[in-house]
């Protein structure tokens, strides 16, 4: 269970360019469900997602993860939570060019010190599962958009996180690949993972597998 209490996020506070991205958001996100945050650009979806995923800190308010307050945690504890609890899928695949797909997928697991041979087996299994096992030794520059997206999904799963966070995952995918993405997400749900997606793509928030849709506008959650 993720609980948000009175979350505010202000950028450039005190400057003429001050901007309130989120203004007093209260929310509870249930476990083992697919939750979609929808809303127009600038409504605060990504900001809220980055706070939930411990990638940024709120200006005010608290986030509880399974009953534990996480916003006050010192950075090194936060890093640990980020690594083990969350898997991130971004709008762009954000794969590192110049190294192979397999290396990209294994990268987030290196700080945890898992044996490389075991990690390799795990990464290859993940790539096989999403039908890109044959590309494991290819450089990421050679992948198509859909393949790159799937590689980034395997990367997000390498540390076996319990919560998957996806920020506009279908923004650069055609309909066929978007449906394929939603099938993968359905599988996550079946495995007991919690999925939080931001999207303004009807293909995502109208999908039957989605348990809850939260609408955001002007930094606030619409009831």
């Amino acid at each position: 269970m993720i609980e948000l209490h009175g979350i505010r996020k202000v950028f450039n506070a005190g400057n003429p360019s001050e901007f309130t991205a989120i203004n007093g958001a209260n929310l509870q996100i249930a476990e083992n469900q697919i939750t979609v945050l929808k809303g127009p650009s600038g409504s605060g979806k990504t900001t809220l997602l980055s706070i939930v995923g411990c990638m940024s800190r709120p200006t005010a308010g608290r986030v509880h993860l399974n009953g534990r307050e996480i916003t006050s945690l010192p950075e090194r504890f936060l890093t640990d939570i980020r690594r083990k609890t969350f898997g991130f899928i971004f709008q762009q695949p954000n794969l590192i060019k110049g190294i192979s797909v397999l290396e990209n997928v294994m990268l987030p697991a290196y700080p945890l010190g898992e044996k490389r041979s075991q990690l390799r087996i795990k990464a290859l299994a993940g790539l096989d599962e999403l039908n890109i096992g044959n590309k494991s030794h290819s450089n990421v520059e050679w992948l198509s958009g859909g393949e790159a997206q799937r590689a980034s999904i395997v990367r997000a799963l390498i540390n076996n996180p319990s919560i998957i966070i996806a920020d506009e995952p279908t923004a650069h995918l055609d309909s066929k690949l978007s449906y394929r993405f939603m099938e993968i997400i359905e599988k996550f749900k079946a495995e007991g993972k919690t999925v939080i997606i931001t999207s303004h793509d009807p293909l995502v928030y109208d999908a039957a597998i989605v348990d809850r849709v939260i609408t955001m506008r002007d930094g606030q959650i619409e009831v």
Binding site: G6, R57, T59, G61, S72, P74, F77
Partner: protein
């Protein structure tokens, strides 16, 4: 003022330390007043972010403070040729009233800064800032001492004139001359002091090892390590120096840092100061063993501190014993 690189380095270190501490103490006061981890208010979140920055800055500042004690002694020693009558740092420190006052403050601040670093390290191991108020309370206590030290150090270095006639260590630490603390310590009978030193050191090491193995007697070890520190400093003047110089009348605690004696004084003082800080650190942390977020690591850390302290005292004793055994002086 004597324009010497070491004087400039001392003053710069003092000003940087004071500036950083006053800045940190300002936020420390806010933390002491407004800190409430249960609150999600904007101020609380600002303080959480600030403390991360301030703790990091203070870690370096206090590290600088620890070094500044040795830099101060080194400076006093290197300025010796400028003053008529000065033979070592003892004479340089005697050129004005402030020299020894600054030294005493530097010793006190070394211990306090070391203890703050110990407390800060322990606090950083907890996920919920368990020692934050204690840490900033200690900072509020230390800050005025460091500012006073800076003021006195400035008065000492800025008021320094090269034409001053000063006393040499032979007269400042003389067992013949009854006036002054140095001479009073020097006139303590050497052999009883030697037995006191070894007796108290044995008790300290035994208590430290007992605590390390059984986990009992930690407070006793903290007190004993402070007592041992004072006895060791007195012993340096009273009898250790005699064996190093191989002279029955030369009690100076500063000549031992000179090249002629292979800079052995720096090593002795480093061991001694390290031992006392880690020893008292044991006592400082003991009350927090039951804090939820610390209980899995603090016992291990306190044990390491106790072991470090014991090993440093042991190394100090071994070095002193080596000097006594291989000295040509027989008393």
């Amino acid at each position: 003022m004597v324009l010497h690189p070491t004087v400039i380095a001392n003053l710069l270190a003092a000003y940087i330390a004071s500036f950083m501490l006053v800045y940190a103490a300002f936020y420390g006061a806010q933390i002491l007043k407004y800190w409430n981890i249960q609150s999600g208010e904007e101020l609380q979140l600002i303080l959480e972010r600030k403390t991360y920055l301030i703790s990091t800055l203070l870690g370096y500042t206090f590290g600088l403070q620890l070094l500044s004690l040795f830099l101060y002694i080194f400076t006093a020693d290197s300025l010796t040729p400028l003053f008529v009558g000065a033979m070592c740092a003892a004479g340089t420190l005697n050129v004005s009233h402030f020299g020894y006052s600054v030294l005493v403050l530097k010793i006190l601040n070394f211990i306090l800064a070391g203890l703050w670093l110990v407390l800060n390290y322990a606090d950083n191991q907890g996920y919920d800032y368990p020692l934050i108020k204690k840490k900033y309370l200690l900072l509020a206590i230390i800050a005025p001492f460091i500012v006073i030290e800076t003021l006195l150090e400035s008065a000492y270095f800025l008021g320094m004139r090269a034409d001053v006639i000063t006393s040499c260590c032979g007269s400042l630490f003389s067992s013949e001359n009854a006036a002054g603390l140095g001479s009073e310590i020097a006139s303590l009978p050497a052999l009883p002091m030697l037995w006191t030193f070894y007796g108290v050191m044995f008790c300290t090491l035994a208590t430290g090892l007992y605590f390390y193995i059984k986990g009992k007697g930690g407070y006793c070890y903290a007190v004993l390590s402070l007592v041992m520190f004072i006895i060791a400093l007195v012993s340096v003047v009273s009898f250790i120096s005699l064996y190093i110089y191989e002279l029955p009348t030369h009690h100076c605690p500063f000549c031992i840092i000179m090249e002629d004696y292979h800079y052995i004084g720096y090593l002795l003082y480093l061991l001694l100061f390290g031992a006392v800080v880690s020893g008292i650190g044991v006592g400082i942390l003991l009350p927090f063993r039951q804090v939820d977020s610390l209980k899995f690591m603090l016992t291990g850390f306190i044990g390491k501190l106790a072991l470090s302290s014991v090993l440093l005292y042991l190394a100090f004793t071994a070095l002193v014993s080596y000097q006594i055994v291989f000295s040509n002086l027989i008393m």
